[in-house]
């Protein structure tokens, strides 16, 4: 899928041409080289990393909130990250920052920090409130926080300049094409770091499946674990949202598909599985969105919804016992 996605697009390449270019001894012409190395490759790599990140973040949230519907979107993390990005793009924009112009290093860090920070703040507010209510209410609280933040973002947009607005709206459609090689230097380590951080907690995550009291009875420090896991999830979801826009459905679809494929709730299996499934879905969605052979590029979010929603429905119907998952 990875290679296919590099080969096909508005300009099509043969597999051997791509492989040779990637391996660095191709004799393809300069334009083709540039398309492959500077546009296709970073975009597909971004899709791959984003999918892995969102799949992992979704899994972490589902376990921590013990809720099969938890994902970055439902819990308001996307909105939190949007607010961070909106503040950077719309409010700070006048000082000369913009996503498309290619930010300087400090600007990139600022963007990651703003969107991850926005994501983290939202996530911890939801977590704090979720201790007082039941599982269904957590989802409603997440949605309400999303709306509230959405409103704040609208107000920011209302006071913004038209061209800033356009770049924010484009951002909100979701696009993997925004990450250039220079930005990849920040994007990739942030995501790999987030995944590594989450992977450290595979064992206590398994214990959390039993419920807090049982988890504590086998020696798990639940508060500490929850804090670090949500930190990882915020970093992952926040970074992706910051660079590529709020991308829906991958976060919920990847863990469910993984559970369905492997029939287990064991995180030693589910974390790698969600990474792979998330990456696969993401690259596929990006591939479809670029409409190979066509001259249009569809909004990525439309495609992830079209792929993700049926996947969730099928996985749930086949399992037939979503309630018993947690």
């Amino acid at each position: 899928m990875f290679l296919l996605s590099i080969c096909l697009g508005s300009v099509n390449f043969s597999l051997s041409e791509v492989l040779q270019t990637l391996l660095g001894h191709g004799d393809a012409d300069a334009v083709h080289r540039q398309i492959i190395l500077d546009f296709r490759l970073p975009q597909v790599l971004t899709a791959l990393l984003s999918g892995a990140a969102l799949g992992t973040a979704g899994l972490l949230m589902q376990t921590v909130f013990r809720n099969p519907l938890a994902d970055p979107f439902v819990l308001g993390v996307n909105s939190g990250a949007s607010l961070g990005v909106a503040v950077v793009l719309l409010a700070l924009g006048p000082i000369g920052l913009s996503l498309t112009d290619g930010l300087a290093g400090s600007g990139q860090m600022l963007l990651i920090l703003a969107s991850s920070g926005g994501a983290a703040v939202t996530l911890f507010i939801v977590l704090l409130l979720s201790r007082r209510v039941d599982i269904m209410s957590v989802l409603i609280i997440g949605l309400m926080i999303s709306y509230t933040i959405g409103a704040l973002v609208s107000i920011l947009m209302f006071f913004s300049m038209a061209e800033r607005l356009q770049s924010f709206i484009n951002w909100s459609f979701g696009d993997y094409g925004n990450v250039s090689w220079s930005q990849m230097r920040y994007f990739a380590p942030a995501i790999l770091g987030g995944i590594a951080l989450s992977s450290l907690f595979m064992k206590p995550l398994d214990a959390l499946l039993l419920g807090d009291r049982y988890a504590e009875s086998v020696g798990t420090r639940t508060k500490q674990v929850r804090f670090f896991v949500l930190l990882g999830a915020s970093l992952l979801a926040g970074t992706v949202t910051g660079f590529c826009g709020p991308i829906g459905f991958l976060g919920i679809a990847a863990p469910h598909l993984s559970r369905y494929l492997f029939q287990t709730n064991n995180h030693k299996v589910l974390i790698p599985a969600s990474i792979l499934v998330g990456a696969f879905l993401s690259v596929s969605a990006d591939f479809v969105a670029r409409g190979p052979g066509l001259d249009v590029v569809l909004p990525l979010n439309a495609i992830t919804a079209l792929i993700g929603a049926p996947v969730i429905i099928v996985a749930l119907v086949k399992q037939g016992k979503m309630k018993r998952l947690f």
């Binding site: 013990r66 450290l200 595979m202 064992k203 398994d206 214990a207 499946l209 039993l210 419920g211 009291r213 049982y214 504590e216 009875s217 086998v218 020696g219 798990t220 420090r221 559970r259 029939q263 287990t264 709730n265 064991n266 030693k268 016992k321 018993r324 998952l325 947690f326």
Partner: protein, 337 residues
Amino acid sequence: MGAQVKIKAKQLSIGYQHSAGETIVASGLDCSLRGGEFVCLLGPNGTGKSTLIRTLAGMQKPLAGELRLSGKAMSDIAPRERARAVSVVLTETMSSGMMDAYSLVSLGRHPYSGWFGGLTAQDCERIEWSIDAVGAKPLANRQVSELSDGERQKISIARALAQEAKLMLLDEPTAFLDLPRRVELMSILRDLAHRENLALLLSTHDLDLALRFADRLWLMTPGGDLLQGAPEALALNGQFAEVFASENLDWDASSGSFRTHPVACLKVRLEGEGIERAWTQRALERLGFGISEDDGEAAFSLKVNKDAWEVERFGLIQNFKDIESLIEWIRSVDWRE
């Protein structure tokens, strides 16, 4: 010296702390558990059995008093170390979702395994031993969500056993189980306590089974006291009756069971022997008759032979071939006249 004391509480107050103050459920509790001892915790609803169990497990802070686990203050013990010393089976069901029984039991090894939870040969041995100890070998590869209540309870206990803790606390593990399953579970647990030298505390509403199986009983009274002693001692000194007796329930010390108060005051003179007589008496008591030795006050007299029930009423004799038709007859007569 007797077996080693695993946990000891002195002047313990249990309850809940909240922003407005604290709710004390019971206070001034002195108790201890020794290795090799199977103790049943009894008490009417709402007397704080679960609160006591959670406090002893270190999952809830005591409001006052001293709690020592193997001689060390509970509050000084790190979670991992505590998990090696105490295991629990709680009333809340383990929401395990998609997990097979073996994986669930293996979570009990968390206090011993490394950062990523890899299992050593020794871990696997203990897991298999635990599953075997509760007689759940055939369940090991089944999904937990497909198990029956009784099977799931066995797996929960196996998970606690896998923790290799010398103190095990179980909160109503026999609820939702049918009688044979309850008896089976109680005898498994008692044998484990004796054989493995575990200190095992189990709360239950099953007075009858507790009386038959426990080495000692802890009785929580509605007043917040904790009475302790051998089951027989508590039955003989009347404390059992005191805690559980209510307006329409009597503790019958001679049979070791509860009886509802007779509704009617009609008496029957009953003659006969053996198992038939015993069950006939139960039927009469259930239908609201007392048993009398005296002819004069009896509404009728009943002679129980091997396969015949002979009723004499107003000088007339009626014969019944089985107890079913006798009961039918008693229910068909209007006894108020």
